[in-house]
Symmetry: C2
Subunit: 183 residues, 2 copies
């Protein structure tokens, strides 16, 4: 690991990073992913609004529908990813009230999701590069559900299976010093 | 606990909730909070932009500056809270590029923060009801830093110390069924 820690921290936090080399020999079923969704669902949210929803894409058909929405760069390394989870923001409640914390709260749920994945020996890699409209079309999403990230989920594989340019950066990336984070 | 779980999950995820009764006899020093900031700082973010900053308010003066920005409802139950952490979103990088994931990423960092707190025997309660402009003034924040949540941090106390209306709701709140969360 290329990171250093000043404090003693939870193993799952120290071991979490966002690799690209996933093991195609270890597929995931929906049942493997549901516990991660339950973990995400236990995250706090403003006024307990729970403004997040999930698409679990583990079967070949759903997986393809997600893959098709990824941009070219992400498609080039996700071919061997066994499953995707799309995080959706549901910013308005059923009375049409919009939460200003919907993205923040959905992010919090991803924090719990990824640590539960690590505890179970898996890894995650959240992607920003995708076509949200394509996700909406491919899954015929109801109005008001906005895809915010597509998360690759699986077990760690072999980085030699990655395109060369990704092999070179297959390591935990660095962080700003703690002192710069605190105002 | 008033929650039920379908799956076996990380203890910290199951034990995390957002209480209001904090123990004033167990104050926190800045050093007790820095490990939680380091945990937060290890969260992933889009393009590793790390678009979050933190105000640690553990000394009486900073604590008061945060307390003054809380709305009346939150002031009524936070009098005994030993410390606050203000989560700030830094949506633009130094080149002026805005991230669409800044709130989401800051939320993810709160997910790691709160689980590390629980592992250390603490609790957190994130609040939405506060005056962000007052935080900016009281701490003379640089342009581009937006307070998104104020988090109460401390050890669990005695719910009889809370105003009555909060005693009645001092328990983990429920979640929507898992099936409703997955599209």
């Amino acid at each position: 690991m290329s990171r250093e820690y000043k404090y003693e921290l939870m193993e799952e936090i120290k071991n979490r990073w966002s690799p690209r080399a996933f093991d195609p020999e270890k597929p995931l079923a929906e049942e493997d992913i549901y516990p991660l969704i339950e973990a995400a669902n236990l995250a706090p949210s403003a006024f307990n609004s729970q403004p997040r929803r999930f698409i679990v894409a583990a079967d070949p058909d759903s997986r393809q529908k997600v893959f098709d929405a990824l941009n070219e760069g992400n498609q080039s390394w996700t071919k061997l990813v066994p499953a995707f989870v799309v995080f959706l923001v549901k910013a308005e409640d059923d009375q049409g009230r919009r939460s200003n914390w919907a993205e923040f709260d959905t992010g919090t749920s991803f924090g719990l999701f990824t640590l539960e994945a690590v505890r179970r020996g898996m890894h995650t890699h959240a992607m920003a590069g995708f076509d949200g409209e394509k996700i909406k079309q491919n899954f015929q999403l109801a109005q008001g559900l906005e895809p915010i990230t597509i998360v690759a989920v699986g077990y760690y594989g072999d980085k030699r299976d990655l395109p060369e340019r990704y092999q070179a950066i297959e390591r935990p990336n660095a962080r700003l010093p703690l002192e710069e984070m605190v105002i």
